[in-house]
Every structure is written in structure tokens, then in C-alpha cells.
Symmetry: C2
Subunit: 519 residues, 2 copies
Amino acid sequence: MAEGQAGQQAERSAQAITPRAMDYGQWYLDVVRAAQLAEHSAVRGCMVIRPHGYAIWEGMQRELDARFKATGHQNAYFPMFIPLSLLAKEEKHAAGFAKECAVVTHHRLKSIGGAVAVDPESKLDEPLVVRPTSETIIWEQFKGWIQSYRDLPILINQWANIVRWEMRTRLFLRTTEFLWQEGHTAHATEKEALEETWRMLGVYAEFAQSVMAVPVVRGRKTPGERFAGAVETLCLEGMMQDGKALQMGTSHYLGQNFSKSAGVQYLSAEGKLEYVYATSWGVSTRLVGALIMSHSDDNGLILPPKLAPIQVVVVPIYRTDEEKARVLEEGAKVAAELKAQGLAVRFDDREGFTPGAKYYEWEAKGVPLRVEVGPKDLEKGSLCVARRFVLEVAGESDGQRRKRSKSFLPRASALASIRPTLDAMQGELLERAAALREKRTKVIDGIEAYGEFFKGGGGFAWVHWAGGVEEEDQMAKRFETTVRCIPLPEDIPPSARGEGKCILTGKPSPQRVLMARSY
Amino acid sequence: MAEGQAGQQAERSAQAITPRAMDYGQWYLDVVRAAQLAEHSAVRGCMVIRPHGYAIWEGMQRELDARFKATGHQNAYFPMFIPLSLLAKEEKHAAGFAKECAVVTHHRLKSIGGAVAVDPESKLDEPLVVRPTSETIIWEQFKGWIQSYRDLPILINQWANIVRWEMRTRLFLRTTEFLWQEGHTAHATEKEALEETWRMLGVYAEFAQSVMAVPVVRGRKTPGERFAGAVETLCLEGMMQDGKALQMGTSHYLGQNFSKSAGVQYLSAEGKLEYVYATSWGVSTRLVGALIMSHSDDNGLILPPKLAPIQVVVVPIYRTDEEKARVLEEGAKVAAELKAQGLAVRFDDREGFTPGAKYYEWEAKGVPLRVEVGPKDLEKGSLCVARRFVLEVAGESDGQRRKRSKSFLPRASALASIRPTLDAMQGELLERAAALREKRTKVIDGIEAYGEFFKGGGGFAWVHWAGGVEEEDQMAKRFETTVRCIPLPEDIPPSARGEGKCILTGKPSPQRVLMARSY
């Protein structure tokens, strides 16, 4: 990183972060600002993803892309403009996205009365919608790629920007333009397509848990919550620190809806013309928001080591010029040795900042480990390794915890401890998130108890449910909660398993569903 | 890759490729089609980049991104929509792009008379231009990032899609939407900004030559060819097989034009408010077109090994079931051993295709090496390694050359030969491209000789030049040639160095320039 960028970053992050307990929404925005992840732009609803935020997204891309390729998918790129008539082909799909479409209607500017304006003569014959998702344009293309069963399956992924016009936006969580990946696959049979839908949900769940350190519940959406045009929508639900659910990925079984609207048939091995079966699945930069809200604290961002753009920062401490020369030399050596271990290391030798200011900055930015190098360490042949967090111990004061987060170790031991410590921290974050979720999860049978739970802040409620869209609306109005998903049986906690009666209608229910407030 | 995708690919590539000598333009399109790199879409002027083409772009991204990061740049992401008033702030810039802007004017659809249409009530207060380049929106943001000299330099890069409305399009070379990277940097001094501009031109040149195997001439554009809003535009020019020049990257010194229009000042170390100096630089998916046209032949694509998504294909050959079992086993082993060397390997064990059909397909797709495994090889403990190309030898027949491209080697030697052979091929492609350029390059002093040269097909002409915009227009009309660049002295061939007189005006000229027809 250039000096100037770092200098500016240190100044900005010196602004205080609102504690979670005081104002959770403001805390989130403060963490995003202090860690310099993103900011609003000159365009309503569109954010700028700053380098530190983008580096986290690059980490997610790297991890996901490797998983997509390992499961046989190839990347491709399709136009971001969709002719209106094409978008309109699948009716439910068009209806679902109609209210949030940015539309290109002209293709030229001109000087009108001295001011630059849209040239009215450049009006397009047909308006172009900026993709809110790409099923329609991709299936139009698949038509040319698929003739026989030998052309199937087609397993495609695309990394792209997406536009869905939003009236109320929130950095990372809900913006008019966002970045995502969208998988689009074509299969000869329903069975194969369904397998793909579940496979990709599994890929997302493994990524969420092992890379993001966020435990998730996997399940199916109710009909009212399905993707527009899908036969079945599968999803992942994670819990944020305020107890709300955040959908961390969806995988759709599209049946033959898009192949029928685009007219894509294949000749089977038996010589019969059949419509093709489809899936689509995606995750977006929203996951950066989920990551922030899952782990961070009142001092700023906390990142799982697997996604930290900087895993270790080395900070030199000195007073005199003589100390400075020695300490900088040792600091550079330490940084080089850590880099040689394959770690992402930053040696922060900037002038004009106190060590304290540097600590503060890297803490706000979520760097997992800090190595301090001072004159005393040189004398003793030791190093101080400070963790961004340690798991809480009951009854411990802040000061005690802070003390426990620092280790003073002989140089060689310190260097050898870095990677195991990062691995441990990765595991601890998942453990901590799981414990938080456990604490805010309740098996509930009566509607009054349900109301009490959500009056008290709420969390994940496991309830029996047999309602339809109307009853779901009722729950949303009364409690601001929705059915997050009908979970996979193995993702239901043991204490919540078994049959029962719907919490609202009293009708029989084969298993509990997950209800919560959500982002 | 999924079987189905491969199956379909084999069928398609079986369509013939028009020879270069017959119709160069059609040859290019045929190579793109046969190698399944890209195709037209339902949207006028927008292409679909197919998996094989996208994988080549991913390779370029990987190589370039590493170079950008090694020179201190960080990736970020800025909105793709630019409010019209913001784009209009830098006058020359706005005028330069006005005629090719896609404009979003509405944000909603609705059902009107049963058909989906643009909702007239959703008209935006201010139209949004889809970015034709991002200087204006990025400098608007830099305003908030830059206060003091300590905030500088800022070194940012963005990978993004771009829209420039084109009336006549050509896959990869000129499309309405394309993918690119755009670097945007901010500096305290002119000197630093100019150094950055040249540094990034150097990065591009090194990439073009050592990765793409395309020799380039580095230089400055004439004022008439500058980027709209730039003080100076630097560029790279490569020669395609038809003798035409293709601009392979530009790096702009923007002076204080954008910092002034956006009002971005910094407080210097001396406590003075100064406007910031800027650069921007970019390359796009156009480079895939350049790559195709530099190396490919009448059998299809030829790729430099460093950018080949598949570097080696292993093809099993068998007749009987007994042979099949043994050959498939050996083929899988060979592929695994090559993968263990870190090579990108495809084991083509597809059924239903003859070995010949497979050879043909992988040849069209530019896979550098093919390893054939047959029953005889098993008996002898040997393998056949076939190169996608060998350098031509004067007087040799096609058959002789084809024979020379195959090596029959003992198994261990064959496997050990793969990486050195790929390295050799990478070097040979650059050598071959340089030889072709040499052959079609001429130092010219008289306007008649100039006309003769371009009547005969042309190439790179080194001429003395002292004309202005008007004289350049004259040359364009008479010969369809332009000043490609005013080269760096060291990129001028020794025979073309020194002072002289302008080929058109007779005025004194300090050095020759590069003239050519261009894409």
C-alpha cells in the first residue's frame, strides 16, 4: 500500500465507533467507515467499495471460484443489457423484477443550449434493462448451445455487477448496484438439476462455515419467498449479532420455466425432443456485510484469518534514532520471515504515527495479529504477539482480557506461533458465532411466548408452521418476522425436532421452521 | 469441463476455417467461432464471452493483476452509473464521449395494456450515463480522500465492464460493452504522475512481450489521438498478421484537468493548497482479439503457453475393448503426472469421438501440446508429443512440417520434455511475431514509395513527420493510415534513427514516427 493511502487511513479511523449496545445500526456504519470498507457515492443508492473492502471481496471470490471450478463449472460473461422483450418472456420473472429495473432508453448525448443533455434523436427502438439477474439473456444464448443430450449438462458461472433499483439502501447489505456471482446450469433431467441445486447450496454452506466462520441453517424458502421464476428456492440463513437473520446465498431449481420461455429443447438419447431443466445460484457483496456483522466488536472490524487481506501487521516501537535504526531492521526481518511462511504481512514503518495510533488503526481494520518490535524485545530476543480478539472468559474485566490477548515469546517461538494462532482464531470465531446463535435461539410453541421472545430482542425461533402466504403476512405484521426457511432435518437442533401443531393455525406440521427478523 | 459441453464443442469446431490468404476478416471470425471464444448476443453490439475465451481473459487478469499489485496498486470498485452533470464537468472529456453514451432514464417497468413497458412515472430527475470510463466518478470520490500531501499518492485499479455505444462492432476488437481494467492514480507532483504514466506503459509492454508474446512499440500519441481530457497519451502498438497495427494499451497523463474540474486540492508540506496530478491507464478484452490475430493460423487458434487455459491435452487411442482399458489407464496416469508438474492438463477420454476429431478440436482451440497414448506406445514404453506449431523452415512442405511437429519419445523423456517444450514455444511465438513484423516494416522517405508500400498491403512504415491534425487527416484520407505513435527512441529500429524531413510537408523532423493502418 502506498504511504499516502495509509496515512490518510490512520487519520480517518481515529473517529470513534458507536458501541453496539447503544445503536447497532450506527455501529455497523461506523465499523464500515473506520475500517474504510465502503462509502456512499455521488449516485443515489450506489456504493464505492474501497480497497480494504474490495480485498475482502477478492478473498471471497478466490475461495468461491476455486470451489465452483472444482465442481466442474466454467466462467463466462454475458451482456449486462437485456432487451425488454426478452426480460418479459418469463412472466413471473418479469413481474418479480419490474419495480426495480434501471432502463437504458438513449445512446447519445449532445450539447443543447450550451449544456450537455440526452440527445432525443438517439432513442432506442427497444429499451434495454440493466440486468437485475441474467436468466433470460443466458437462456436465450443456451438456445444456440443445446441441441442434443450430448450438449448437457452446461455448467456456467459469471462474476458480474447487478442493478436492482432500491429506495432504501445500506452499504453492502442493500445497494442499487452490487457485485455478485451467478451460476446458471442446464440439465437433461429434473433429478440432475435438483442435485445441482443442492450441491451448490452445500458449497455455499461449507464456504460460510469454514471460510467466513459463520454457522448457517440450510433449507427451502416458502412459496411466497421464492425467486421470481423458480420452482424451488434453497437458502442459507446466518444470525447476525443483533439476533436478526441474514440470507447468505440462494440456489434455485428453475424446472423448465426458462427453457420453455426461451424455447430450449434437446434431443434425448431416445430421439425425443425434451425441454431442458435449469438451476441458478448466487451470492453477492452482501456477504461482506454479513461478515462484518457476524464477528466485529466495538473497536471495529474482526476478520476470520482466511479472509483477512492483511493477516499480520508488524509495528516497530522506538524513541531514539539509534533505537529506530535497530528496530526497523529487526521489524523488516520479522516481516520478511513471516511472508516467507506464506502469510499476508504488512510492515508498518510509517513515520509520524505513534505506535498507539497504528494499533488503533489496524484493530479497526480487523487485522488478526499484531507483532510489536521494540528495543527491549531486541535485548531479550523476544517479540510481543497481540491477538485482535480472545474468547471471553466469564467474570473477566476488559483489562484482564486485553492482557490475555498479548503473548511475550522468544523470537523463534513467536514466529512459529503465528500460523497455529491464526488457525485457532479461525476456529474460535466460528465457535463464538455458534455460541451466540445458540444463546439467541429458542424452541417456541405458543404465540404469546413468541411475542415475548421478539419483544425481548428475539433471535432464531423454531416453531411449527402450517400457514400459507396470508398467514405469513400476518406474522410479518404482528411480529416483523418471516419464515426464514423450512430447514434440512439435520440442521434443526435436536431439541426442536419432531412433529407438532402450527403456532398460528393449530394445523398439523411435520417439522419446525426457522422464524426470525431479517435483513 | 462437463462432458456435454465438450461434446458440443467438438461438433461445432468441425466447421471449416477460411484461410487467411483468402479472407483475413472472415478467417478471424472463423477462428473465434471454431475455438468457441465468443459470439454475438441478443443485444446489438454486445458479445457473449464463452468459457474458452473467458479463461484466456482470466489468464490475462491474473498476470496483470499481479503486476499492478507488485507496483503498489490496490483494487477497488466504483459505481457504473455516472450522473450526467458529473460526466459533463470536464468539458473535453464529455465532448469526447458524448456520442457513445448509453443513458439510463427510468427505474421501473409496469404492465401497460397487458404488455411490459417502461413506467413513464419512473423517470429519473437526472439521467445516468453507463460509464464509458471512470475518471469523473472516481475523482469525485477522491475529493473526500485527499486533504494533505500525506494522503498521496493514491494508487487504485478497477476491473469492470464499460459501455461505449458502437455502430460497427467486431467480436473482442470493438463491442458496445467490454471488460477492462482502469488504473486511476493521484499524485502530489507532475514528476511523480509522469513517472507513473511511463511505469504503467512499461508494465503493459513487458506483459505484451513476455506473456502475450507480441512485440510492441512504445510511444506517445499525437494531440489528435489523445484520450479526451488527457495532457499526454502513451500507447503500445502491436502488428497483426495482416500488417495492421492494434493499440494494445494506453496510459494517460491527465495533468490537473480532472482534479480541477472535481475541485481536488491537497495541502502541501509547505502549507500551500495545490491541485492534484492524475494518471489513468487501461487494457481491455480487446487484447484477446490481439492475441488471436498475432499467432493463430489456418487451423485455428494458437496460444502462448503462459495464457493457454489447457496447456496439454492427453488423447487416448484404441480399437478393441482390451486396448481401451489399458490405454485409458495409462492416459489417466500420464495426465496425473503432468498435473503434478503444475501444468494445466485435460485428459480427453470422451467416447464417441475419433482421435482425429479430438486432434482437430484441440488444434482449433489452440492447446499448445498434445500427448497421444496408444497400444503401441504402451508396448514400447513411449509417448507421442505433438506441438501445435513449429517454426517454419524454408522450402519445407506442409507434410514435412507436420511430421517435424511430432516427437516419439521414451515415456520418462516425453514427460520431462513437456515444460521445456512449452517454454520454447512461448519464446518461438515472440520470435515468429517479431520476424513477421520485421518483414512488414519499412523505412520510407518519399510519399510515392509510401503509397506503394500501402498499396501492396503495407505494414509498419517509419517516416519523418512534422504535420498537425490537418495533415494527419490528409494521410488518413489518402492512405487510410494514421500516426500510431511517436515512439520512444529505443523502440525505433537502428536503421530508422536520426533526423530528417517530414514525408508530407518537408519540414524538419527530429525523429521518425510509426505509421500504419489500424484496428
